[in-house]
């Protein structure tokens, strides 16, 4: 008796490839990392101490250093006091440091800040919506945002030696003045 195959034989490799492609596409889920030259997504979140809201738009007109950190991320903890020192080198109306804490348990982030207070606001985002928007691929990641809200530099990871490079980049953005250069020509990328 002739038995019909379930599918024509020549379909099988194609069907298999399709199934695999589907699964890989599903799993790859590439994070769209925010690149230099793109508009920094706005956000508003409750601050880590819970008393106020932290909003990026509030700091438009200043150079913003946006830092993502967590209490379990060792290089993040190294960066916090150093970034705080760096912040003090610039006038308050020129540079604003904004941190986003991504601890699931905000109390852990708060505990670190109690041990080592810093002079800049930390938003609390246990759900990770803000890092998702920014498409960060490593912890810590920081973004230097110019006065017009454009991401000008993305810094991944943190080592003590990075401070001098960051200082130069912040200084360059501060020196641009109130109207960022090259904006009209679609510049801004480095």
């Amino acid at each position: 008796m002739k038995r019909r195959p379930v599918l024509p034989t020549r379909w099988h490799p194609g069907a298999l490839s399709f199934a695999f492609a589907l699964v890989f596409a599903w799993h790859a889920n590439p994070a769209m990392a925010l690149d230099e030259g793109e508009q920094a997504p706005s956000f508003t979140a409750r601050s880590l101490n819970g008393t106020e809201k932290v909003s990026l738009s509030k700091f438009k007109g200043k150079v913003v250093y946006l830092d993502f950190w967590a209490s379990w991320c060792t290089p993040c903890l190294v960066s916090m006091p150093l970034v705080d020192e760096l912040r003090k080198e610039f006038p308050d109306d020129e540079l604003q440091v904004v941190a986003v804490n991504v601890d699931n348990d905000a109390a852990k982030g708060r505990a670190f800040l109690q041990r080592r207070p810093v002079g800049f606001p930390s938003a609390s985002d246990p759900g990770g919506q803000i890092p998702e928007k920014y498409g960060i691929t490593t912890m810590p990641t920081s973004f230097l945002i110019d006065r017009g809200g454009i991401v000008r530099y993305v810094h991944k990871g943190f080592r003590k030696a990075d401070v001098s490079d960051l200082r130069e980049k912040i200084q360059a953005l501060v020196n641009e003045g109130s109207v960022p250069a090259k904006r009209a020509t679609g510049g801004g990328r480095r």
Binding site: H12, L16, N29, A70, G128, T141
Partner: protein
Amino acid sequence: MNDFSKRTTRFASLALALGLLLAVTSLGCAQLKPWEREIHARQDMAWDPNGLEAQRRGHVYFAKEAAMSGGGGGGGGCGCN
């Protein structure tokens, strides 16, 4: 249908079934985002929670076992490396 075609069909069906099984079971895997790695970042989740101790044990092991280059270190097993 000749024997060859039957075998091919059976093989292809099996491959398809295995592929689908893999596809379905692999959906149980999850990709962690960088900000979700709190548990993975714990010291006891590291391969060698204590790097210095792991290095010391490796050194003793190579010396005692007369093994060479197992952990990237050379030596002849004389116990003097």
